[in-house]
């Protein structure tokens, strides 16, 4: 027999409402109507008393127990391993997960490890290519190799460093012609002059250079007695007519 059912039937139903099965169920406890009413009355009164009987222990009892609790757990903390208290501080179980210091630190470390590589990813992919390009350029550029052999230039390593920082000005006409400063003579002076003129003239798209025009002449020994100083080359010790070279004519007329 289920006691819960018996109690419920007696508490909620009247005797005349009971079915045959229910009467059978409660017959052991309440066989007659009078017994049923006695039980019903007792249960209802007990329910009322339960509602009234709200017991509250004295505050002294709680204070005494609180004191005992603190004393007991302080003793345990003193006698226990100090690491336990560290663990309690770092991972207090009574706090929500997001307020536990250990998890907060772990989350911060995780974020750093996840975010920093992502930031670096934007820079890194171009860097190796650029470096590779520079190296290839150095190898491919023959002018750099030529400069290496020149005693007046800086050492190769230094040069490369400089090139990595700023592009080198390779436009040195002296290195091309092979002329030295001591041999400065009129054609070179003219060449320099022409270059300066052409640089000075804004919008000048083409420059005139005797060296460019006749490199074979420039490489030869220069001997000139002509008062105009327009002679070039050993084998061409003839004067050049200014009319044949309109650019030179313009230059001469503008200069002298």
């Amino acid at each position: 027999m289920n006691m819960d059912n018996v109690d419920e039937i007696i508490a909620k139903k009247n005797y005349h409402e009971l079915s045959g099965a229910e009467r059978e169920l409660i017959s052991e406890l309440a066989g007659t109507e009078e017994e049923f009413e006695q039980m019903k009355f007792l249960f209802s009164q007990m329910e009322m008393m339960k509602d009234d009987d709200v017991f509250e222990p004295r505050a002294e009892t709680k204070r005494s127990l609180d004191h005992l609790f603190q004393e007991t757990h302080q003793q345990r903390a003193r006698g226990g391993i100090w690491l336990n208290s560290l663990l309690v501080a770092l991972y207090p179980v009574e706090k929500p997960a997001y307020r536990r210091p250990l998890l907060q630190v772990a989350a911060a470390v995780l974020v750093i490890f996840l975010v920093v590589p992502l930031i670096n990813q934007n820079i890194e992919p171009n860097a190796p290519n650029q470096l590779a390009k520079n190296e290839m350029k150095q190898e491919a550029d023959p002018t750099l190799d030529e400069n290496k052999d020149e005693p007046s230039t800086v050492s190769t390593g230094k040069l490369n460093d400089q090139q990595a920082v700023a592009p080198t000005d390779t436009r040195e006409p002296v290195s091309h012609t092979g002329l030295v400063r001591d041999d400065l003579s009129l054609p070179i002076a003219i060449d320099k002059f022409v270059s300066a003129e052409s640089d000075a003239a804004a919008g000048a798209t083409s420059t005139f250079s005797i060296v460019d025009a006749a490199p074979e002449m420039a490489s030869t020994e220069i001997k000139s007695d002509h008062p105009d100083g327009v002679f070039v080359g050993d084998h061409m010790l003839t004067s050049m007519s200014a009319a044949d070279q309109p650019e030179l004519l313009d230059l001469l007329t503008a200069t002298f």
Binding site: M3, L42, M49, F55, P57, R58, L65, V88, K95, Y98
Partner: protein, 196 residues
Amino acid sequence: MRLIKPSYEELTDEALMKSMSNGDQRAFDEIYKRYSGPLLGYFMRMLWRDREKAEDFVHDLFAKIIRKPDYFDMERSFKTWIYSVANNMCKNEYKKQEVRKGMSTGLDNHFSLSDTNVNVMGEVQDSFFREAFERGIESLDEKHKEAFSLRHLEGLSIKEISEILDINEGTVKSRIFYATKYLAEELKVFNPVINR
């Protein structure tokens, strides 16, 4: 793992006991809030309506829990366990009283005391029915009283009572039947339906 930890009110007794054994004061407060009142009522009913004694028993019971939380087996129901401890404390007290009674001049100490307490303290006993009911409870022998109290006053199930008293469910039922019939008979004079 839950991100938001449930409040102490939502935690089960067993979870609270676990926290309490780790030194969580708030877990202890919650356990005390849940059980101190019902246990005080239980002790008062079981110990001849002696409020002082009941208070002491509540204190002693919680002190045991504080000092030796490991006594509680986490696999068991805390409610069942705490009532079984309370019931054992009452049994020990009965034995103590028996010894005292044997050594005394033959006066029934606790019944006379309880009667005096009822009359003098007069706690919430403003009706004749209540007095009669309590007298009826007192007059029951211990085994019937404890079964009846746990069932009808503490609201425990038959299974829980059988665990607390360490007897089989059939025995629990028969004890409750006996006590209920006895009290109903004793108190029928207060029933207006029957006395009409």
